[in-house]
């Protein structure tokens, strides 16, 4: 598991962004440079044909391992999976549930 710095800080936010992009790059078989171009509105589940339910399940399990979070059934909804911004916001909220 990668230890992320305090996500209140800009450095922490950047680290989370990098970690999440790296993870999606691993799942999609992209270079990190290609994943760097992901923006908040970049479409994920439902937009990329190769990102099927099994791939998304693998992505979520890997997120749990790398970020040290637990994702419940109820957490998983269309909104969090649809865009990169939705997934990032979800990860941020999980890491800092205040």
């Amino acid at each position: 598991m990668t230890t992320l710095p305090n996500i209140d800080s800009a450095a922490g936010e950047a680290a989370l962004d990098r970690e999440l992009k790296g993870l999606i790059a691993d799942v999609l078989g992209l270079d990190l440079a290609q994943a760097e171009s992901f923006g908040p509105d970049t479409g994920l589940f439902g937009h990329l044909p190769e990102l099927d339910s099994m791939a998304v399940a693998g992505l979520l399990t890997e997120m749990e391992d790398r970020l040290g979070i637990v994702i419940e059934d109820d957490d998983v909804d269309g909104e969090m999976l649809e865009t990169y911004g939705g997934l990032l916001a979800f990860a941020r909220a999980k890491l800092d549930p205040r």
């Binding site: 691993d26 799942v27 999609l28 078989g29 589940f45 439902g46 990329l48 190769e50 990102l51 099927d52 339910s53 099994m54 791939a55 998304v56 399940a57 693998g58 992505l59 979520l60 399990t61 890997e62 059934d73 998983v76 909804d77 269309g78 999976l81």
Partner: protein, 229 residues
Amino acid sequence: MISTWNIPASDGGLPGEELLVSFDRGRQSRLLICPGWFDEANKLRRFTLEVMRRLDRVGIDTLLPDLPGCNESTAPLENQTLEGWRAGMVSAADLLGATHVLAIRAGALVVPSALPGWHYAAQSGPKLLRGMIRARIIASREAGIAETSKELIARGKDAGLVLAGWPIGPALFRAMETAEPALAPGQSDIAQSALGGTGLWLRAEPDEDAGQADHLAALVAKKIAETAQ
């Protein structure tokens, strides 16, 4: 290179015939491969064969038997059990004269304990099951059907469950809930980090990575050479 092997029937009936992919030139070191399971088996199939090709080039025989219910098998997957698969791998090791074993991911759950060898990125039963149940929940939700892991687990234990397209019978489902890879004497782990890059089972689609295949084959070849001394 592509042939079959005969798996003895557990009830004393006629043996079953299953596919065997091998690089068998009757050499001294013969590595049995216990492949990954289900979706991971497909994602890692090419990688597995690439590792076998590299080992062939350095003088090591490799044997990749299908278990009943997998790949081209005519046996129904929903009838398979963890004990049956374990016994199947022990039979394969004996019949094929394996000297070492390499388990890949959940293959570590059925590795014969009598052989020295390695567990590459071993996967536990509960983790594998959790990922497959999650995939089913996501797919169902897309189709407008609400399912929870709690009710799916209850159903799986009772009557079996189709997860990501694989019909898993109740006995295998229950066994997977607690199955953990165990290193027998002479066996050790090879972590994904030793190969460089991330595991190919994570990829959305089957892929290959020559560098990772090089690393795993080199590690196994080196360790086999060490055990031969």
